[in-house]
Amino acid sequence: MNKHIPKLIGRLLLTVSVLCFGTAFGAGKKIVVASWGGSYEKAFYNAMAKPFEEKTGIKVVLTSYPDFAKMKAMVDTGNIEWDIVDIEDRMLYRGMKAGLFEPLDFSVIDKTKLISDAVHSHAVGLEIWAGAIGYSTEKYPGNNYPKNWADFWNVKKFPGARALYNGPYDMLEIALLADGVSMKNLYPIDVDRAFKSLDKIKDHVSVWWTKGAQPAQLLTDGEVDMTYAYSGRIANIIKDGVPAGLSFGQASVNPEWLVITKGSKVIKEAMQFLAFCTQAKPQAEFNVAMQYGPINIDAFNYIDKKVAERLPTAAKFIDSTWKPRAEWWAANSKELTERWKQWMLE
């Protein structure tokens, strides 16, 4: 019996040391990322999660969908299931107010090559999408398609069924653009003028969509002929052969953010992962797959020129697009959501 004890201690020490070093090198750690499922999640896995796993040994588990209510419940109860969450621009401001995010460490994340619009004290951009006009090329062939929001509002020149987003975000701005306000003078929004302009198009809008995947479906099914849409979704159905087009005239450009949930147990690893996601190569790979705009300017070194000029952050679109002012919305969204609801019921 006695002679077994040294052996046993030896084994124990070995196990303990393996465990210690293992954790020190990150093996066995895992990060859970809440993302948007489907082709988006697949592209994210291939461009970011998989290469990161291979490089560091830290496992990245993807789950869908980012649900803000769930995230708030996680922070409230301290039971953090998602370490990193993929969120929209206006959620960033709401989440900041509710204290849902960890501050980021920019000594780990290199922000020198990132575009300034996609860097925030508590979040870093994943991609930039455009709120643009998706249209049917069967209905509007060749060059005869709606090129800006005034065209979208012009039901005589462009007859057909329309769809808009069921909420005030971007809708008030495009209503002003349709009414002749310039992209530089949108804020602060003249709300009464915007609703007056929306009154003109209201009865020509046959669908008010609520989920980002709907516009692509509406165009595919022929349910509408033109719609306000998130660019990547439409780019994807064009790739699949649906007779649709994408018009970036007066489109809004919005960063999509990655944040670390407050109270995550793997903050250090999550920070490393964010640093990886913002590097040029993964940025190029993900954004080409999804047809979104990269947030690292060096990413364009890895992207074919012909592909690059179709992405929403391409140089040629800079003068024809505008950036929604999230701070303005953070201050006014509660009141305007209600006014929007009321207007919809009228």
């Binding site: 046959s206 609520t210 022929g222 019921l345």
Partner: protein
């Protein structure tokens, strides 16, 4: 239960303890916790309730919710009653076949059925292809994203509930009573309206209540099939919870829906004597 005559039934409630406990833990506790947010989010306040009564949207949406639920209940009853009658009046073999037809949609996911209606009612959908093909109309009709689409979609979801509630009462009605009525000179209609219909009323009461209350909480179907005016209260609650993160106001909305439902249930049970069913 209080009028028990034998020893064991006095302790009958003991057997229901586990399920009561489970209900308390997974239902009563979380719901009270959430509803209390109406008064305590973030600090003790009446702000959410005051805001709710000041907002013109809430009462409009509550009215729409009741209107849609009422329409759906009535149509389900009109469709469900003859089917339930048939089910309770045919041979065993035919009955199981009919029952399968009632239950298959019941087992199919609500979301799948809602999307199926989108395929049928869409601008290039099956129904519009038939309408244009037959020359009834030159251009496709707007069927999807209307009140009509919401009604038809919800009626399809709800009719099986109605049928099952009606059937459970109708199968217990003694058919010899109808023959007795006939022997006393009643014709078929008189026998039905004066004997069968009154006896089936408890089923009507239970079925309409079930369908109405279930309909009040509908969310996905009106969101996908409805237009801009088909907004139901659950859609407002969802928006407050998941996009606006305003849980206090969401809780106030939920509380109002619960109260409205309870008041209605109370009035209804006085009228229909639900406890008998």
């Amino acid at each position: 239960m209080g009028q028990s005559t034998s020893e064991p039934t006095q302790f009958g409630w003991v057997f229901s303890l586990p399920s009561m406990l489970l209900l308390c833990v997974v239902f009563v506790y979380p719901i009270s916790l959430f509803l209390s947010k109406c008064f305590f989010d973030p600090t003790p306040t009446l702000e959410h309730l005051i805001h709710l009564f000041e907002s013109p949207v809430f009462f409009k949406v509550l009215w729409i919710t009741f209107k849609i639920s009422f329409t759906v209940t009535i149509i389900s009853l009109l469709i469900g009653y003859p089917i339930a009658y048939l089910l309770s009046d045919v041979s065993e073999g035919t009955k199981s076949l009919l029952m399968i037809l009632v239950l298959i949609p019941f087992w199919t996911s609500l979301l799948v059925r809602t999307y199926a209606w989108m395929v049928i009612l869409g601008r290039r959908g099956i129904l519009n292809k038939i309408i244009v093909g037959l020359g009834i109309s030159d251009t496709p009709l707007k069927l999807l994203h209307t009140a009509f689409a919401v009604d038809i979609g919800m009626v399809q979801m709800m009719t099986p509930f109605m049928i099952l509630a009606l059937f459970s009462v109708m199968k217990g009605i003694d058919r010899r009573l109808l023959r007795a009525a006939a022997s006393l000179g009643a014709n078929k209609f008189q026998a039905f309206f004066r004997v069968f219909l009154p006896l089936s009323l408890p089923g009507v009461g239970a079925g309409t209540l079930l369908v109405f209350i279930y309909s009040l909480g509908f969310f996905i179907t009106p969101a996908l099939l409805g237009g801009r005016k088909e907004v139901m209260i659950s859609m407002l609650i969802d928006e407050q919870i998941s996009t606006l993160l305003n849980w206090g106001f969401a809780s106030a909305l939920a509380l109002m829906l619960l109260l409205a439902t309870l008041i209605l249930f109370f009035l209804y049970s006085r009228f229909f004597r639900v406890e008998r069913t």
